[in-house]
């Protein structure tokens, strides 16, 4: 807790947000995007991931890519907490339009309203779109 508070005021710690908007497997964006998140974690910045639009599909549990012969990566999301990536948000409207609920996801997420996401985006040092 003390460490966290220290970090908040550490000028060298920047807020960086990864905005995930692509469905998995049809294109590599969500996978290569996740690789970026894991690498960036080593830099010990204040990281946030937000899933908007088709990006929410990347988190759906039970994905099995055996038959399409592509390496799946749904389990890699489970590693995020070990990398101290703890702020993982899902846009409520995107989720509901796609018939999903929070317990359809493979990891714990916080469901946010558009206004909340907008406010968090505005606080960032940088946002990276995938």
């Amino acid at each position: 807790m003390e460490v966290d508070e220290e970090m908040e005021v550490d000028e060298n710690v920047k807020k960086v947000m990864f905005v995930m908007r692509k469905a998995p497997h049809g294109s590599i964006y969500s996978y290569e995007g996740l690789e970026t998140v894991l690498i960036t974690a080593a830099y010990e910045q204040d990281m946030t991931m937000v899933f908007i639009g088709d990006g929410v599909f990347a988190l759906v549990k039970g994905q099995d890519t055996t038959d399409i012969g592509i390496k799946g990566f749904i389990k890699t999301y489970g590693a995020l907490e070990h990398y101290d990536v703890e702020k993982i948000y899902v846009d409520r409207v995107s989720m509901e339009e796609r018939g999903l609920a929070a317990d359809d996801f493979a990891i714990d997420v916080e469901v946010k309203e558009a206004e909340e996401i907008a406010a968090i985006m505005e606080e960032q040092h940088a946002t990276i779109p995938y």
């Binding site: 049809g26 294109s27 590599i28 399409i68 012969g69 592509i70 390496k71």
Partner: protein, 118 residues
Amino acid sequence: MKFAVQVLEAPYNNQASDTAYHFIKAALDKGHTIVRVFFYHNGVINANNSAEPPNDDRNIYKRWTELGKEKGIDIVACIAASKRRGIKEGQIVEGTRISGLGQLADMTIEADRLITFG
């Protein structure tokens, strides 16, 4: 039946190369003929022999060698599209070749079916 297959996206970046491969395998299993596979747009990247994809994932480039060299399917990357994207003779996947857009016109006319993956 004679099928011609067009692939319009780069391997790994999009699923088109994967779906094309599984489709072709299933078609061959059923005794169909693949007249030609034609790479266009970013699809020409499929013919790049300099790639080193991760060991724990499928190797899309090797699949084209399997189909082109072992199964004898004609696999062509469009020369104009290749030049824009840096694919050239001497640096292409075994079992593929570079040629003109006429090869696309040609296979379209010859085949009973043209199937495009992009």
